[in-house]
Symmetry: C2
Subunit: 578 residues, 2 copies
């Protein structure tokens, strides 16, 4: 596998061999890295940590995980990374769909976009088995991601994967994500967080088209070991009471947890002012499934080829017309309860607009909540939020404020209740009632990001309302997900490999023949976090950036009326053992 | 002298004794500190450096200098400080007028405003020889600083000094300063920088009224030493070819340097895109003096009682009606050449609006320049900028964006050419053509602030276009001004005490009898900078915040076509010898 370098200064592309790993250590060279780990290494090696995130010295990296492009279930997530304009630190965001698998099958270990076109024009990059071409895309300026994908597939073929930005990315908004088409009706997967869509916009890149026709699954160093392990992995997922055909994950997708988070009192409601929502029942996963099936939508579909979990849905309107695929938990929280909106139809509509404009629904939802608190919209009134989203797509001054995310919106609008960490909006778990997530939001190199270490899953083991034990728990979670994010595996596919790390080692060894042990795997996880922390330190992030917003340490959250009280000293010590 | 504590949580005030200095070291206790030094010490002692600048844990401090309230010429500057919402670090800004002298004569070493009123109401603080009272001021909400001062003087007497915020401070804008009435027609002195007006707004404090009637000059430990030294000080200023009656400082005020900075190619023009302005001649100090005198305005007046330099002006319109007192160099740069505006009348009009709304003309001017680059106004078209300033005063969304200053304006509007350091707009010396100022902007704990160490005055000794020697020069300047800012002395009054540090020591010893030596003075200067750097480090500022904007290291500035090229390693080492 090779690296594709795309130089936007000179509009040139080239293939480049992969920097070999001189030693076994994953911290050396690029060879033994993938996805999030490879992004960390490239950024630390090639990008000045103090650079302007939207300037020519930042790089935007697309990397499949180490196991991408194989037949392994749920392994095709695409990692996208760069220095974040939102947090000022390192960022990796990943998405489902076929982008990761396609890129891997095309032989691409990483696609690295560098520089900035002098003329400010938009371009598209087309990658197939034979060619890599950079072509004009000015004619797509101003299009949403749905239309961009349609135009690109019209030109290059319906089976191509299209990775694109919407208006938000073109306007260099920090709430802009990168949208990727997925399997069948799953046409809007999004690497949402950290403003990577703005980085793509700053590179003058409107879309990347992947044509993997004629490619095959990647070669295996030890086919027998790999296939045995992959089969066991799939079998465990299929037979699991959680991810199997009768499990909540398959049946309800991420929305399965609405009820539980609301009952915990951690469901962000009306700009994080309370943790339970009176209309939460209307948003339950079961309700989502019922409505969808009644109307002829779909549930239990896959976002990527060959995923045995199949957690996705296609939410449709009363006439069966698709609104959004997939309507997810975080979106239900941030565009739903957080805005006082209590119907799935309304949330789905707002979600579609976010996807189309290329906006992170978490960041946008948090910014809309702040706007409502400032009196620019009304909690519970969907149309008032639709108007604000349309301002974002139009690039009006108000839209540009909101498009920069919750922190800028709060500062400009004079609102002090702003749910962010490292400048990034919190996902749908209020950290005052799920304190382990507060620790992750504060300390993760990724900022407020549940996928960096979500303590919801360990709520039985660690009391979510207690301050004690949260740092230890968060650290373990943060380490574990680095491996998922570096192999292309979905978070939902974690039980088999978390339960038996040897299985992950066997998959790696089966694919590459590196002879890894479980100890190597543990070392790998630490290395990833350490590289990211090192980048952030050089970028100027300090313990001051590893805090909850001050108001959350002071303002009790109903119904438990707790504040975030994990001591600063514990937060500061979390990585001391790495 | 005592400290007045104003608790805005409970709307209470109290007098408090001064924390004694247990040793000679100025770093111990509050006793041997004043102005900027005292502010640094109080913040470092009492304010959590990571606090929200606009939250209840920040404090807003007003402190006269050590020599304030005496008969010494030019010693009455008032220092105002707190954690800055603009830079996220420590901030001291000082202004002329009678505020410093009045506060000192009222026996106040520092006025410390703490907490935040729960009801969000506005208040006024009245201090006289007998009483300290906190009273409602909701009826002044929305008033500009001119009207606020008029109302306050109507109520409390025309001789009172009024310190107030305008609309910008009420809206918590980071470009908001604190405005202080001065001597006679000098009714609008402003501690402009760092957003301290927003901190005052966040405390719910609209105005402070100082009634020093019946007070006298402060007692002297060694009257003979003090008076001899003070006489020598005044004599040197009066007889100096620079500050004396025929000197440029007295004749033209700060505007004396327009010609020289323009000739150096460092005069910010059209959003810092070039360093010389074709209409600069219209803005020369000589021209300002001519026009003013022709129209019956005033030149050569004093902003504070007893100043022998008297550098101020009252700029009037064609009918002799006052527009602004004083029209100053930085304003001429930022609201003039930086906006492509080439007449003093137009600049004075914009200046008056800034003063009235309580806006830093540097920060506002830089934000307007960014707005023009974004197409929201037209360089050279005054009315387009008046409209934008009116948006700020009205608190519209656009106004709130611009009121947050140049950095936020650039981020929201998608402009990458944003002349800021530590998030604060640069004064009117482009650092690519006056590199010593670039070093000061980057490294000073105060952010981009010429008063923290202005290399313009040493341009003959250190080549402003060379990278070499700038850090050493800047460090010396930065150290020297700490003493001015801590004694209440004006920058224009520096020659006698810079020329002979023993004179400063004699003044201190004459006033207090501390038995200081010149070595103690040198130690004092270092202590001030070290306290400020310590606060900033704890607040999370790092070397990443000690940089010029990336574009200034890349984009050559006409006419010399130089970039800022002082090496990062030199910037990082500047304070290593402290």
């Amino acid at each position: 596998m090779k690296i594709i370098r795309v130089n936007m200064d000179h509009l040139e592309t080239r293939w480049e061999p992969v920097l070999p790993a001189p030693a076994l250590s994953p911290a050396e060279g690029y060879e033994r890295l993938g996805g999030r780990a490879l992004i960390a290494k490239i950024l630390l090696t090639e990008v000045p940590p103090q650079c302007e995130p939207l300037g020519p010295n930042n790089k935007l990296i697309f990397a499949p995980g180490l196991l991408g492009g194989t037949s392994l279930s749920s392994s095709g997530r695409l990692s996208i990374g760069g220095k974040s304009p939102l947090t000022g630190g390192i960022k990796e965001a990943n998405c489902g769909g076929n982008g990761g698998s396609d890129l891997a099958r095309l032989g691409v270990k990483a696609l690295v976009v560098e520089g900035q076109p002098a003329d400010g024009k938009l371009h598209q990059l087309h990658i197939s088995g034979e060619t890599v071409e950079l072509l004009p895309a000015e004619e797509w300026r101003g299009l949403g991601t749905y239309d961009t994908a349609a135009k690109a597939q019209e030109r290059w073929g319906a089976d191509c994967t299209v990775i694109s930005i919407g208006q938000a990315g073109e306007f260099l908004m920090s709430a802009a994500g990168v949208v990727c088409t997925g399997h069948r009706e799953q046409n809007s997967r999004i690497a949402a967080r950290g403003g990577l869509g703005a980085v793509m916009g700053s590179k003058g890149l409107k879309a990347i088209v992947l044509d993997s026709a004629g490619t095959a699954a990647l070669p295996l160093a030890d086919p027998k070991l790999f296939r045995t392990s992959a089969r066991r992995f799939a079998k465990e997922l299929i037979e699991s009471p959680r991810t199997g055909r009768k499990g909540a994950t398959h049946m309800y997708g991420t929305s399965a947890i609405v009820a539980a988070v609301n009952e915990m009192g951690a469901f962000p409601t009306r700009n994080f002012s309370t943790g339970s929502f009176e209309a939460a029942e209307n948003l339950y996963g079961q309700r989502l499934r019922e409505i969808t099936l009644e109307r002829g939508g779909k549930v239990g579909t896959a976002c990527m080829r060959g995923c045995v979990i199949a957690c996705c849905n296609m939410f449709v309107d009363e006439n069966g017309k698709p609104i959004v695929s997939t309507l997810q938990y975080e979106t239900i929280g941030l565009l739903g309860s957080n805005l006082g909106i209590g119907t799935l139809d309304e949330i789905a509509h707002l979600n579609r607009l976010c996807n189309d404009f290329g906006l992170d629904s978490i960041e946008a939802g948090a910014a809309l909540g702040v706007a409502a608190e400032a009196g620019l919209a009304r909690f519970g009134d969907k149309n008032s939020f639709v108007s604000l989203l349309e301002e974002i797509a139009a690039g009006s001054v108000l839209g540009r404020v909101l498009g920069q995310g919750a922190a800028v919106a709060g500062r400009v609008l004079g609102v002090s209740r702003v749910p962010v960490a490292k400048g990034q909006a919190m996902p749908a778990y209020d950290p005052r009632a799920l304190k382990g997530n507060g620790v992750t939001y504060a300390t993760s190199p990724m900022g407020a990001d549940h996928t960096a270490g979500n303590a919801f899953g360990i709520r039985q083991a660690v009391d979510p309302l207690a301050a004690a034990g949260q740092c230890e728990a968060s650290l373990k979670l943060q380490l574990d997900v680095t491996m998922l994010d570096s192999t292309g595996l979905c978070l939902f596919a974690r039980p088999p490999v978390f339960g038996d790390p040897q299985l992950m080692v066997d998959l790696i060894n089966g694919r590459f023949g590196w002879g890894w042990s479980v100890a190597d795997l543990e070392e790998f996880k630490k290395t990833v976090l350490k590289m990211e922390l090192e980048f952030n330190e050089q970028a100027g992030l300090t313990s001051a950036d590893a805090r909850m917003p001050e108001y959350m340490t002071r303002e009790p959250l109903p119904p438990h009326n707790t504040v975030f009280d994990v001591p600063d000293a514990e937060l500061d010590a979390i990585f001391s053992a790495l």
